[in-house]
């Protein structure tokens, strides 16, 4: 039996209209404005060029966005603990070099080359984490030097030719360029995810009612399920009118989904948000702060390496420009545009999807309009400035000083 909590006026809190069950992601403020921005971007570019929203263009857009998205997902993790990794682009470049050189020149089996590349990235991340958590060097400086070391390593691995091509018939290139989920499979996955979500919502609702806690109405639950079904189903259906959902797109979304579960539903995820919010409080609460920092840096660099491997497959080559400086900035910008706070503690794995969607929607639109590349930088920069401003202002209005 629970005694109702009352407010100052003695009214039971549970009876007040603002008292309702809200999941963590629903409280995340950054999501709705980004979705509106995305719709506006789509409408503007569609008005300027009728091919913009065609299935073919969106299939390409999704492929382009996915490798950046995997980088962004790693950046989100590091930002959530209140740190930064400026070297994700360089790490992805090193991984791309390792996988191509290992596979083409050294003749390793593909799977070995991929695993070595990802392991090299993760090891770099472990180095950052160790230097930060054990020696107290600021992550900004560690990863900046990591960026330089990475660029150098990349050149060393590539050797004098500075560019290595992957054969088109290799598994990696086929996976990244030509593999698409069959429509039946993608539809089946959508149905499975919606069913799993429905089950978890209903079980959760029943437990809340059994525990005499405020529970969402059946209508609200149905609305959320319908929103998920539409949010997954419509894009998948639309992409299937073109070539379909690319394999790397599925990998990206799967990684985001898994990361989201870990961040929201596990104690480790809770420790990530606690550390980003207040390290001292997290330490006093008994979280293994150093280990979580190290894990976040390792996951970020590991994901960056995976993104590098996949982009080597998508371009069927690795060279010195793979993962150039622009890519790191794009990934960090995407994380912030998607709603992850630069100040730590607030964010979501899904902000990686939203953020890269916005950035690639703009760049794809400008490419279709055959606009100068310089314009893309300016527009992306302005969008980033807007996103950071929203972050800082919302933080100030909540009474929390930014760092």
């Amino acid at each position: 039996m629970t005694v109702p909590v009352v407010d100052r006026g003695g009214i039971p809190v549970a009876d007040r209209p603002d008292w309702r069950w809200r999941s963590w992601d629903e409280r995340d403020p950054g999501r709705i404005p980004v979705l509106i921005a995305l719709v506006l971007i789509a409408l503007v570019f569609q008005a300027l060029n009728g091919a913009y929203l065609s299935a073919d263009n969106l299939v390409n857009l999704a492929l382009q966005a996915s490798t950046t998205g995997i980088l962004t997902l790693g950046v989100v993790l590091v930002l959530m603990v209140g740190q930064i990794d400026l070297s994700v682009g360089a790490v992805s470049g090193v991984a791309a070099a390792v996988v191509t050189v290992g596979f083409v020149r050294a003749g390793w089996p593909l799977i070995v080359a991929v695993l070595v590349a990802v392991a090299v990235g993760t090891a770099l991340g472990a180095g950052y984490g160790w230097m930060f958590a054990r020696l107290g060097v600021p992550s900004f400086v560690i990863t900046l030097s990591g960026l330089m070391v990475g660029v150098g390593l990349q050149a060393q691995v590539l050797g004098p030719t500075a560019s290595v091509n992957l054969p088109y018939e290799s598994g990696l290139v086929r996976f990244a360029q030509q593999t698409f989920l069959p429509p039946v499979l993608s539809a089946g996955l959508v149905v499975a995810v919606v069913l799993a979500y429905t089950t978890s919502r209903l079980v959760d609702r029943r437990r809340r009612i059994a525990a005499e806690l405020s529970a969402p109405s059946l209508g609200a639950t149905a609305a959320r399920i319908a929103a998920l079904a539409a949010g997954l189903g419509v894009p998948v259906w639309y992409l299937s009118r073109g070539r379909g959902v690319g394999a790397i797109v599925a990998v990206f979304i799967g990684l985001v989904w898994a990361t989201d579960i870990v961040l929201r539903r596990t104690q480790w995820g809770r420790s990530v948000r606690a550390i980003g919010s207040s390290v001292e409080s997290a330490r006093l609460a008994g979280f293994p702060v150093r280990r979580v920092y190290i894990a976040a840096f390792m996951a970020c660099a590991g994901l960056a390496a995976l993104a590098g491997v996949l982009s080597a497959g998508r371009f069927a080559a690795a060279n010195q420009s793979t993962g150039g400086a622009d890519l790191t900035l794009t990934a960090i910008a995407a994380a912030v545009i998607g709603g992850t706070s630069l100040f730590g503690g607030r964010g979501s794995a899904w902000s990686a999807v939203l953020g890269v969607a916005v950035i690639h929607a703009i760049s794809s639109g400008l490419t279709l309009l055959t606009a100068d590349g310089s314009l893309r930088y300016i527009v992306t920069g302005v969008v980033l400035a807007l996103a950071v401003t929203v972050d800082a202002v919302s933080r100030r209005s909540r009474g929390v000083p930014g760092r």
Partner: protein
């Protein structure tokens, strides 16, 4: 003293380099009792809190919990032994909601995932017990007032069913209404059978809720008063050391 103490400090002595912060300090806390620890700046209050919280291991002296000598070598160990401390800065995470903060580091799990339902139910129960006025247990702590935050921090300290609750300057940053709220909270905690150590510089608060007042001055116990009978002047005199003090009982 009628009840046996739940926690006794015996001859606690601690130095920071050449500075002797605590010298031969004794302190007893019983169940159903609020013991106020007062003293001027630098009297050793914070050091004493650190010792009770397990954050500081004293150079000499012993801590007896339930008649057994223990070594409070870490905050976790102090908690396990039933001594919960609410630090002055509360150690809350601003971005996390009330339930998340209450269970920070001690999350309830259902298999591999967090059991939000059980945690929310327990949070509501604890806050209701303290008659805490918290607008939403699923809203971030950054939206709460100072008094509400104190309530959340106290509720968190009570989570593991401790015997002794140590509050470090709980009203230092609060206004009049919120201070009253927190003092009510302290009384409710005592009435539930906990021993409370209230470390404070505010004599009005101390006189409002304390059963006993222990005065620290330059690291030593300079008086142990019954709050019912001691006068304000006696206590101030013991704090400042200006007038001779009358000692009553308590100090062994």
């Amino acid at each position: 003293m009628t009840r046996p103490p739940v926690m006794s400090l015996r001859g606690i002595t601690h130095s920071f380099g050449a500075v002797r912060a605590l010298i031969d300090v004794d302190l007893d806390v019983s169940a159903h009792e609020v013991v106020a620890v007062v003293g001027d700046n630098g009297a050793g209050k914070s050091t004493l809190v650190g010792v009770m919280a397990g954050a500081l291991v004293p150079d000499a002296g012993e801590v007896v919990v339930d008649g057994r000598e223990v070594r409070l070598s870490s905050p976790g160990l102090a908690r396990q032994l039933g001594i919960a401390t609410v630090f002055q800065d509360l150690a809350l995470c601003e971005d996390l909601d009330v339930v998340e903060n209450l269970f920070l580091g001690q999350e309830l799990r259902r298999g591999p995932v967090l059991d939000e339902v059980a945690m929310e139910r327990e949070a509501l129960r604890l806050l209701a017990q303290l008659s805490a006025r918290v607008t939403s247990v699923r809203g971030p702590v950054s939206g709460l007032s100072g008094g509400q935050r104190q309530a959340v921090a106290v509720a968190r300290a009570l989570l593991g069913e401790p015997r002794v609750l140590v509050l470090d300057e709980p009203t230092a940053a609060l206004g009049i209404t919120q201070t009253a709220e927190v003092l009510n909270l302290v009384e409710r905690v005592r009435d539930r059978g906990y021993g409370v150590v209230l470390v404070s510089q505010n004599m009005a608060d101390v006189q409002a809720v304390a059963d006993r007042v222990v005065v620290l001055r330059r690291g030593r116990v300079n008086g142990d008063f019954d709050a019912e009978t001691a006068s304000y002047e006696d206590i101030i005199a013991a704090i400042t050391g200006i007038a001779p003090t009358r000692r009553r009982g308590g100090v062994s």
